[in-house]
Symmetry: C2
Subunit: 443 residues, 2 copies
């Protein structure tokens, strides 16, 4: 190896110490750079809290140690002003992070205007239109750091199992999940759609590479205004040649357990900031309960729901079911008529599709949807017809059934729904840096 990346300063050459690394510099004079998070005063001492994205440092400004100007600045420098702070680092158990800096110099870079996000409660609409600033808050940073670990865990899981990452295209000529919720664009005179799922492409890739996955943004122009819907969301979609329904149930279970474990192991502090009770997460260990759609309907009816066999579960049903179990729940064998064209029917009962959903516990509902795929050419042709889909756009997809068709299965995990559940957020909009909601495409 010619290059080993193990020292931040070596590769970045920045002349600053990051707050998360203060502990390495006890007794040394260093330069911190960041933004004023908070300040308070006590007699001849001013405390300045500085954040830099890696942590929050307590700066101690003693009237005796600094110029009159600096001391006066420390009294009035507004929140979110940017500044360079120089001084000596010392241990102090009472300081956040366990260290503080005895400030000798405080040099403002830019004095901030009145920061719009204050300590008082803000309405969601206000926070959402200030998302670019809201991200600076402690809680949002914690969520983003958990998101980061979940994304890494997804990739690590499939990479270590020998899956090949195959990026699916976003611009597509065909619709996977029905045509009513598509964003469309003019593609040099033709109509192209924003992908709702990479699945069909993953089927092609699985026939080439065996085990594959994609992980990218997908789009649904859904007019739903619920706490579970955003129009742009990331999905991770594995697809496996020669895998059948049981194989992907097994895989989905291990996958979700692995993700949860990685968050517990690597993001304990962030879960604490979010006041997330970790008990339910520690319980996410295979095997997960598995029930058929029929059994799920029985449970719903016993609970007093008037839900009818043959309908698809909505949010109320998912919530009710997922609250009945203390682990993620696998529901399998759905009525074929409420599922997409590409799902294989159960040979024992052609009214049923070889489909699975995984519902997150604590009322969070669906995080995974998957199925064994129809692999017979004539059957899939018939389904495309029945669903009134344009045969031309699917010619290439039919080829997969002409040239070495094999049993194959896959699923998609919704990244933001998973984050929402793991962080126990009240709404999915906080699970993605810049959420896109119905009538909300700003900033």
């Amino acid at each position: 190896m010619i290059i080993l990346v193990d020292d931040e300063k070596k590769a970045l050459m920045l002349e600053q110490v990051y707050i998360a690394e203060m502990g390495k510099y006890v007794g040394e004079n260093v330069t911190l750079k960041g933004w004023v998070y908070n300040r308070r005063s006590s007699g001849n001492i001013r405390f300045l809290m500085l954040r830099d994205g890696t942590g929050i440092a307590q700066g101690v400004i003693s009237k005796a140690d600094v110029s009159e100007q600096t001391f006066e600045l420390a009294d009035r420098i507004p929140q979110e002003s940017s500044a360079v702070v120089k001084g000596k680092i010392r241990e102090d158990k009472r300081a956040p992070g366990g260290y503080e800096i005895l400030v000798s110099e405080l040099e403002p870079i830019q004095i901030a205007e009145n920061y719009p996000i204050t300590k008082k409660e803000h309405g969601t609409g206000f926070l959402m239109s200030h998302r670019h600033l809201w991200l600076r808050s402690k809680k949002q940073l914690a969520i983003m750091r958990i998101r980061n670990v979940i994304i890494s865990a997804c990739r690590k899981f499939f990479d270590s199992l020998g899956f090949l990452l195959v990026d699916a295209p976003i611009l597509t000529p065909s619709a996977v999940e029905g045509t009513t919720t598509l964003f469309e664009t003019d593609y040099f005179g033709e109509t192209a759609y924003l992908s709702q799922s990479g699945q069909l492409y993953m089927e092609a890739a699985a026939m080439a590479f065996g085990k594959v996955y994609c992980f990218g943004p997908t789009f649904r122009a859904e007019k739903s205004k619920t706490r579970r819907h955003i129009t742009e969301f990331w999905q991770i979609e594995p697809e496996i040649a020669f895998a059948e329904l049981d194989d992907i149930m097994e895989l989905a279970e291990k996958f979700v357990a692995y993700i949860t474990e990685q968050v517990l192991v690597n993001r304990a502090e962030e879960l604490k900031i979010l006041e997330r009770d970790t008990g339910p997460l520690e319980n996410v260990i295979p095997p997960f309960p598995r029930i058929s759609y029929d059994e799920a309907v029985d449970i719903l009816n016993k609970e007093g729901s008037s839900f009818k066999w043959g309908d698809d579960f909505g949010s109320p049903e998912e919530t009710l079911l997922s609250e009945k179990f203390n682990k993620p729940l696998l529901v399998h064998h759905y009525p074929a008529k409420c599922k997409p064209f590409y799902m294989k029917r159960d040979p024992q009962n052609p009214q049923l599709a070889l489909a699975i959903d995984m519902l997150a516990p604590e009322g969070y509902g669906e995080i995974i949807g998957g199925s064994q795929r129809e692999d017979d050419l004539e059957t899939i042709k018939k389904r495309i017809e029945e669903h009134n889909l344009p045969q031309d756009a699917y010619e290439w997809y039919l080829d997969l059934r002409k040239y070495g068709s094999v049993p194959h299965s896959g699923f998609g995990l919704g990244l933001e729904r998973t984050i929402t559940w793991i962080c126990k957020l009240p709404h999915i909009r906080e699970a993605i840096p810049f959420p896109r909601l119905l009538e909300k495409c700003y900033p």
Copy 2:
């Protein structure tokens, strides 16, 4: 750790051995599953080459060992038919991969129709419209496996340096790189654009988290039909608070060296399949040559080009420049008028922007573009006006200059251009699984 993913079979439970792992099962009876890649006969022996995405296995079918039916099948089973092959594995240095399987059973799953991709030369148009099948070829698999390593290397590089991955939105209200090359879509009655770059969002994120990057698909509706253009391509875009032009030159250099090294170390076999001369790649070690735009113009003019100061480099200029050096080349300080509004001007000479490009060697041209960003509120307001951009859409971006503005810099690396160069491909379209080209959005 409750779950450790170190055994493919453990997590997948598939009753098959993958070809890449045959060496672990010498002397054992196993089941392989895959597609017929090729076959030939020699007296009473038939050789069946089976591919499964992890490798190609030689199956040896001896007339004495199998039923008459099986032997006859081995004589006529068409290319790309899917099949289950059972038999004993033995070492054989002449076999691809060093092992072969003595077939006792050959069970077809689906007999393929006449496979359209044959050994004869096919035109590009034909291969492109059969991309879903073309991916099955050895060379395309090698490219995709190199792509995979490059993607992992990008993430590993920034993750290990403490950068936070912050996904930028695809649907955006504003245009980063000018408005002429935008794909647009109706967003519940308003117009939204497909992102050309995540940069502006990364600037917001850098003010929140210090060091960030995004890595996702971006879009340019460019009408260029060159070997360097696709309309949908992936970009990795780091952005760093408090970093200046020199810092990102340093970082870009180490980043590209790291990627190249990772490919050399982990994908030697694939580079061989592509007949890629690795000499030029082994040379990609920092420091890279650095020249100013002015110097670049001198070189061009000395080489007989009539290129004029103030114009932007096109493909011919980039090719000429990058062929003059045997390492990636950093060009810095471009004329401000040919660069976007957000770049900071050189305080020494306001005609120049604090911009860098990195040109890949061997004539491949630009793979990285970056700059220090304008951080002064009044200046950036003026630029937005000068560029006739809609001020409303940039309100949030201006906020970043009101609340703790700091010097900051970043760059974007074009993933597919990097792959094209590292694999030494003749055209960028082979660097992505499902390329989107001018007038080509299929499959």
